[in-house]
Amino acid sequence: MGFLQGPLTARCYRVEADPPEGFRAVFPEALNAHAFHEPMSKAWREEVVGWVVTQNLLDTHFERVETWLFNQYAFFSLRVDKKALPAKYLKALLDKRIEAWCQETQAKACPRDVRADLKDALEIELLAKTLPRVQVTECVWNLAERTVWFHSTSEKANERFRRIFHQTFGLVLLPDNPLEWVDETQAEALAGGGAPDLAVEVLP
């Protein structure tokens, strides 16, 4: 479900400025520079974030403008991968490894540093075999209207999106604040004086 079909769950932003002159040449480079890339090692566990072409999350090359720019709409996605190990399974395997080490060395207990080394080795082994959890979230930038829609209302996802958008394009995303939909006098009146919650005020 996303901008092309199905119900939409999205937050709207205003972009602080127009896209730069010659953005058709500048943006592919910017997107490529912040595109999603698999880490070199297979045993990574930190979050990996980057842009992908919406039509296929494995497509991370933005040179072909026609794959992501449609008239005034720039349409691409943010991919976030993260690997997580099942804690109980990890502990059970570690206990087995410790037991095996104790038998092999005929030690009564496993020293703390050996336990840490065994745990590190086990995590690396498991992470290399684990597929990441993959999240892909679409965004649409109306370049003519200076608005951006991001297909998530999660605060964490939106914070991450705003950060990488700024890193990529050098433009700040501002929330589409309802106070900016009304004239200044009304906005000041609505904002000022700590207006009471209506539902309390209307209590009989």
Partner: protein, 170 residues
């Protein structure tokens, strides 16, 4: 990076409560800025929260929840409208959405039409509809702001809303 301008938390429940009231008072018909009208109604969901907790404390669903005694009782008991499912119609285009949070995010917004053409055409059509939907919500908020900050708020609108909450609106 510029900090986000603060979004005032009290405005959303006030706006949603006014919207619920205004859809009943005005028979769900609202003026557009450039002329013409559109329809708005509270659809099949209303949820309430307490003043100090954003979690929903009462959720009413099904047919016409806004007309139920429970809904008015929640307001009368001091609960705030947390979110509601709103129906909107302009010309032949009908929308359904939940508005939530200080920036009135869209939750589960349903746009009219079924798009089976090329992806590019679908994007143009859906973005046109999404932008119209946001514009209609913006128009409703502008109606709210005009009433909320107008001279008649204290003398006319608020007393009428109090009677509406108390079920004395005829």
């Amino acid at each position: 990076m510029t900090d986000i301008a603060p979004v005032l938390p009290h405005l959303t429940p006030e706006f949603l409560t006014w919207l619920w009231y205004a859809t009943e008072r005005d028979m769900g018909s609202f003026a557009l800025p450039e002329g013409g009208r559109f329809d708005a109604w509270v659809d099949d969901r209303l949820s309430f929260r307490t003043a100090d907790d954003d979690r929903p404390r009462a959720v009413l669903t099904g047919e016409n929840p806004s007309g139920s005694l429970e809904a008015r009782a929640a307001l009368a008991g001091g609960k705030l409208v947390r979110d509601l499912r709103l129906g909107l119609r302009r010309e032949e285009r009908e929308y359904s959405l939940v508005l939530r949070g200080g920036t009135l995010d869209l939750q589960g917004a349903k746009l009219p039409g079924m798009f089976k053409g090329h992806e590019e055409e679908a994007l143009f059509d859906r973005m046109f509809l999404l932008e119209e939907l946001r514009w209609l919500v913006r128009t409703l908020f502008q109606h709210f702001a005009a009433e909320r900050t107008g001279a008649a708020w204290e003398t006319d609108v608020l007393p009428r809303m109090q009677r509406w909450v108390a079920g004395e609106d005829g």
